[in-house]
């Protein structure tokens, strides 16, 4: 998720080099069939995406499974997969934290605690909830920043795809950008959120089908997990590569340069909860569920699948340490020497084990991941623009038909801005880092604002707005401080041994704390809203609808408990 910033830039390749993968006719056919089917889905869904509810919220008729897979898939971009596989090669199993403690508790919390408030308030977006809870100023601040950043992220995703296709397949940058633009624009503008969700589910299944074979064959080759661990320890000379928590006692005892406080509170509490419970890109998928029970089950189902993803993302990175006959190197070294970089580990492992057909399937899974990432950003942008900016501040009384038309046009404009961003980034790669850092500035404090709004009746409109603003300014200030003076990292992360990753974790933690403290102080200094106005918005002021499941095993809390138990067991096993 937020880690993308540094990973993206690493794909820059200055010297031309032969592509990693050579596709044959069957592989090309596999890719072409994927493009054909997503365009067909767009045309098919056009006929049932005519009202605002249909176009922006997929008719609120998705089952728990579809909403759940879409929820987890919206975050499963190809760049993330390739980046984290590379991180696993570089840092070992520590990279799995971003899939476990960095996701599972937050997803379960969303399903069990937060979803009822999002769902029964019938809002169309997270800024929409902020409007009901804190008023239009907070909605405007959140909506504008989200819309702006989302559409820029879409462009970065587009550029990243083109870059990876160039490195992996040798495709021309312009060809990749315009092919993906035309396809995404067509199916999202035609089918709206429903189309984006359909494609996210397809992408999710393709990633499993295309990538799962690598760890299976890899484990067969090395002789199982036990032998793999022995080989990694032998090759790297450090047992911490195969332990999740043992090396996190201090900043200097692990390759990431982080400690357990940053990992538990920075990643596990703030970044993870901020992303999975308040980023509208993912929350929108759950809001499309057809009833409250499905909306609560969707993140829980998503959490179950999220927990398995390290098997085909982190494990290939670890396997590469053992089986590749050469060492991967940082991108800066790769550019200078022509060696392969960490981020190429997933394509390299695909090429190692996959013959014709299977290789095309793996590449299609990567392309699908990029395209659904773009589609997800564009559809979320369109919803927030139409409801939270245009409908809230520019044209409040338009018809539903008008808003759908505006939604389609905003998607078109959003796609064009994305293309512009892609070309801008091509000529000024540093913009990519800035934009993604900016995106991360809003997530951590937004979680403070939303969670206080949901759980604390005393939070006031002024408290919410100024808390969000102060938290965001803190994140920007800390980032700028370290940018101007890299030695300041020791103060931000509280250790001279801290590395760049620690900055992200601690910056998020401080900005969240500032948001919460400012919100609490200002709330106590200002007039609270009457409790009657908070019905449906705040815990304690809301009578939650009773759910009547026929059997105990149908209850969301039971499944959340099962997932939580597995999560604990995994962490102990890989301790």
């Amino acid at each position: 998720m937020i880690q993308l910033a540094s990973l993206l830039a690493l794909f820059q390749v200055s010297a031309p080099r032969a592509s990693l993968v050579r596709l044959n006719g069957v592989d090309i056919a596999v890719i072409a069939i994927y493009f054909a089917i997503v365009v067909f889905i767009g045309f098919y869904l056009k006929g049932i995406s005519n009202t605002g509810e249909d176009f922006f919220m997929a008719g609120r008729e998705m089952t728990a499974w579809i909403a759940g897979l879409s929820f987890v898939s919206a975050n499963l971009g190809s760049l993330e997969l390739m980046g984290w596989a590379g991180s696993a090669y570089q840092y070992g199993i520590l990279a799995a934290h971003w899939y476990w403690i960095g996701a599972i508790p937050a997803m379960l919390f969303l399903g069990i605690i937060m979803m009822p408030f999002y769902y029964i308030s019938k809002v169309n977006s997270v800024p929409g909830y902020l409007n009901l809870r804190y008023g239009p100023a907070t909605r405007g601040l959140s909506g504008i920043t989200f819309a702006f950043m989302t559409v820029l992220m879409s462009g970065i995703n587009m550029y990243a795809m083109a870059l990876v296709m160039k490195v992996v397949l040798g495709w021309d940058l312009n060809f990749s950008i315009w092919l993906s633009t035309a396809t995404v624009a067509l199916y999202v503008i035609l089918g709206g959120l429903r189309s984006a969700i359909f494609n996210e589910v397809l992408q999710f299944l393709l990633i499993w089908a295309g990538a799962l074979l690598v760890p299976i064959l890899g484990l067969i080759e090395v002789g199982g997990w036990g032998k793999l661990k022995t080989q990694i320890i032998h090759n790297m000379g450090n047992a911490h590569y195969v332990h999740l928590w043992q090396g996190l006692g201090s900043f200097s005892t692990n390759s990431m340069g982080v400690n357990w406080i940053g990992m538990v509170f920075g990643l596990g509490l703030v970044i993870s909860f901020g992303y999975w419970t308040t980023d509208f890109l993912v929350v929108q998928r759950v809001l499309s569920a057809h009833n409250l029970r499905s909306a609560r089950m969707a993140p829980i189902i998503g959490a179950g699948f999220k927990m398995c993803i390290p098997f085909f993302v982190i494990l290939p990175g670890l396997l590469a340490i053992s089986v590749l006959p050469f060492h991967l190197v940082p991108q800066s070294v790769a550019v200078a020497t022509g060696q392969h970089s960490y981020n190429e580990v997933l394509p390299l492992m695909l090429v190692r084990y996959c013959g014709p057909g299977l290789l095309g399937l793996g590449v299609t899974a990567l392309i699908a991941g990029f395209m659904s990432g773009m589609a997800g950003n564009v559809s979320a942008f369109s919803t927030v623009w139409t409801y939270d900016i245009y409908g809230a501040f520019i044209n409040k009384k338009a018809s539903d038909e008008h808003y759908v038309k505006m939604g389609r046009w905003s998607m078109f404009v959003g796609v064009l801005i994305s293309v512009g961003t892609a070309y801008l980034v091509q000529h000024a790669a540093s913009i990519m880092d800035y934009v993604q850092s900016l995106f991360s500035f809003f997530i951590a404090p937004l979680f403070g604002t939303v969670i206080l709004g949901m759980l604390w009746k005393r939070a006031t409109k002024a408290g919410g707005f100024w808390g969000l603003l102060a938290g965001t300014c803190t994140a920007i200030g800390l980032w700028e401080w370290v940018r101007l003076d890299p030695t300041a990292l020791r103060y931000v992360a509280l250790s001279p041994n801290a590395k760049a990753m620690a900055q992200d974790l601690y910056r998020a933690l401080w900005s969240w704390l500032v948001c919460v403290i400012v919100t609490v102080i200002i709330s106590y200094c200002t007039q609270p809203r009457p409790e009657a106005e908070l019905d449906g918005l705040v815990y304690g002021a809301t009578k939650l609808p009773e759910e009547h499941d026929e059997h105990w095993y149908q209850r969301p809390i039971v499944w959340a408990g099962v997932i939580a138990a597995v999560f604990v067991v995994i962490n102990i096993y890989f301790w």
């Binding site: 579809i66 089908a209 067969i220 057909g357």
Partner: protein
């Protein structure tokens, strides 16, 4: 109008992909590659493709488009 679910699309895609991959694997079985991938003797294309085709077939039949009532 017949309503097509996402599971039907997924089934069709997996069925087509499965058939293509099994066909490629079978061809490769009789015409070995010059530079085969590691563990090629396990013929992953054939069993993985077959598993995809079977899963795709099951989903295609199970979620075959029905007329809306």
């Amino acid at each position: 109008m017949r309503e097509m679910s996402i599971w039907f699309f997924s089934g069709v895609l997996f069925l087509v992909y499965g058939i293509l991959i099994v066909a490629a694997g079978t061809y490769e079985f009789f015409h070995p590659l010059l530079h085969p991938p590691v563990l090629n003797h396990l013929h992953a294309s054939i069993w993985w493709g077959a598993a995809m085709a079977v899963a795709g077939l099951v989903y295609t039949i199970r979620f075959w488009p029905q007329r809306k009532p």
